[in-house]
């Protein structure tokens, strides 16, 4: 049965309003430490019986925490050096030994150990970025896109390179320079529109298209800004069917 254009008008309007509400509600304000939690944030309260880092960096800790016990997606923004040819900015290494804490507690401890960074939540994605750029409106990831449109994307690059094209001037250089890992998109083309988001929030969504444990890392230099996209696949961990089969085949109440 075909619907006429008139019949489609109201559902389309309703869908547009729902989409507008859905994309703008969680991202209207970035949540800083101690802010109110949303349903997507519940994993922050997951108990972490033990968390240990030995002479490692903040991003090492983030990778470790994002795998278990409550796998999550994150975006990490390095402190950028001025020019690509400059020497790398050394990341402080530290040791942590935490017991009986939560995911939130570990994130706080990591950002305390390397106080250059602060973390916030965007939906279910943890964003860790330099404290120094928090209020810098010219910083690429803080810039805002009133409207971001993506048509038939089958890889993350289509979305990434659409960002500078859809940002108002000045022109922003971006690169996808990555060695290792990956966050491949599902084969189905992805068409989507986001309204009133920061570039950071758009990149979060681009990473999540690959999977719920989509991870992105931003680095390079002010004159060559690059991204890498990864996935721990820890969010898609499910019991294999053969285990379920064994459990279901057992007698329900074995008599002693």
């Amino acid at each position: 049965m075909r619907q006429s254009g008139r019949n489609l008008k109201y559902p389309a309007l309703l869908f547009s309003l729902t989409l507008l509400f859905a994309v703008s509600r969680p991202f209207a304000t970035e949540q800083q430490l101690g802010a109110q939690s949303a349903p997507e944030d519940k994993f922050l309260d997951t108990k972490v019986p033990e968390f240990e880092l030995q002479d490692q960096t903040l991003v090492d800790g983030l990778w470790k925490l994002a795998r278990a016990p409550a796998p999550f997606a994150f975006g990490f923004e390095n402190v950028l050096k001025k020019r690509l040819a400059d020497a790398d900015i050394p990341d402080p290494k530290f040791s942590l030994q935490l017991k009986n804490t939560t995911v939130r507690g570990v994130l706080n401890a990591l950002c305390e150990a390397d106080s250059r960074f602060i973390w916030s939540m965007d939906g279910a994605t943890v964003n860790v970025f330099p404290r120094a750029v928090t209020n810098d409106d010219s910083y690429l990831l803080n810039r805002r896109l009133e409207r971001f449109e993506l048509k038939n994307a089958t890889d993350v690059d289509k979305g990434l390179f659409a960002i500078p094209q859809q940002l108002p001037p000045p022109f922003e250089q971006v690169a996808h320079a990555q060695a290792g890992g990956g966050d491949p998109y599902p084969p189905e083309p992805w068409t989507v529109t986001f309204l009133n988001l920061s570039v950071r929030q758009v990149v979060n969504r681009l990473a999540l298209r690959g999977g719920p444990c989509g991870i992105w890392i931003f680095g390079g230099a002010a004159d060559f800004r690059s991204f890498g996209f990864f996935n721990t696949y820890a969010c898609s961990k499910q019991q294999p069917p053969w285990i379920q089969k064994i459990i279901e085949s057992r007698p329900k109440n074995p008599q002693p």
């Binding site: 990555q178 890992g181 002693p256």
Partner: protein
């Protein structure tokens, strides 16, 4: 009121057999004698039952003693004098066999049973990544419940950690690869009221060894290269691809580079996906021209076992990739 016999059974015999039955029947009719013989055959006499029970009891005593010796436990005088009652029964508790008027397997006693099952591929994986736990799980189905378990492996150092859910079951931990397929013997003993049962399972302890990959095209729409490789890991001892049905997703794939890739490159590790494959992105793709020139050796490892080395040659046109193996 006696139940009337309304059903008949008939069978053909030879002349010789008929004469033999006539003699044996004596004063009874052949029909009465045959009926009595059939009824006796269907229901063993109490004397025969006692003999069978005694034999089974002797079997249990012997198995208890052998099991104690096999476990290198001391054979106590109490156990020798009264082998029905081991440490778990004490001085006759209600559930112990003798107290219920029979020996092991006799009236009031039940022989425990155990069946164990691992993954349908008959394998466990060498390593310590928690994401291997599902594939390395062995589950037991026992009857009746309430007994105790003892787990052993043919290779020393293998560990058995109770599963977090769906037990009884154990996650087998091993750091030793099989020499041949199916050579690892895992034995699970189940003891209830001192009556033991056990079952063994032969599996292959697989170690990640090498990986094959596809040949992706360059999808960079700017300057440089974008190639997303999909690798399929293979295992020793028998060069078998890792099966997706085990769901090893999340198992870490670590990467190292020597020297480091060109400045600006984000490096990171991967993980096995739900198909037990992993992707490796080699990308240097910008919306502005590149000025890079370096050669890097990339090493990919799963569970600490190197599965591939590649040479990555970076230039202003992008990345040229060459595999260095291993290929088996």
């Amino acid at each position: 009121m006696p139940t009337p016999r309304s059903k008949s059974i008939s069978t053909k015999v030879t002349e010789e057999e008929y004469s033999q039955f006539e003699t044996l029947a004596g004063e009874q009719t052949i029909s009465e004698w045959v009926r009595d013989a059939l009824l006796k055959a269907a229901k063993p006499s109490p004397a025969e039952q006692t003999i069978v029970a005694e034999l089974l009891a002797l079997r249990m005593i012997l198995m208890n003693i052998l099991f104690t010796i096999a476990n290198r436990e001391p054979l106590t005088s109490t156990a020798m004098n009264d082998p029905w009652y081991g440490s778990s029964c004490g001085s006759p508790p209600p559930a112990c066999p003798e107290d219920q008027g029979g020996g092991a397997d006799g009236p009031g006693s039940v022989t425990p049973t155990i069946t164990v099952q691992g993954n349908p591929y008959g394998s466990i994986f060498v390593g310590t990544d928690p994401n291997l736990a599902a594939a390395n799980s062995i589950f037991a189905t026992v009857s009746p419940s309430g007994g105790t378990f003892t787990e052993t492996s043919s290779v020393s150092g293998d560990t058995f950690t109770p599963v977090q859910s769906g037990g009884p079951g154990w996650v087998v931990g091993t750091t030793t690869q099989s020499t041949t397929a199916g050579d690892r013997k895992l034995t699970f003993a189940y003891t209830l009221n001192n009556v033991p049962a056990s079952q063994s399972l032969n599996v292959t302890a697989r170690q990640f060894a090498y990986a094959t990959n596809n040949s992706p095209s360059n999808t960079c729409t700017g300057y440089g290269t974008t190639q997303v490789y999909t690798y399929t890991p293979y295992t020793h001892p028998d060069k078998t691809a890792v099966q997706g049905g085990n769901n090893l997703s999340g198992t870490a794939v670590t990467e190292s580079f020597n020297p480091q890739p060109p400045a600006g490159t984000v490096t990171g590790s991967g993980a096995l996906n739900t198909d037990a494959q992993f992707t490796d992105t080699l990308e240097y793709c910008s919306n502005s021209p590149l000025t890079i020139s370096t050669t890097v050796t990339q090493t990919l490892s799963i569970e600490g076992y190197q599965v591939r080395q590649n040479t990555l040659k970076y230039s202003s046109t992008g990345i040229t990739y060459t595999s260095l193996g291993p290929t088996q």
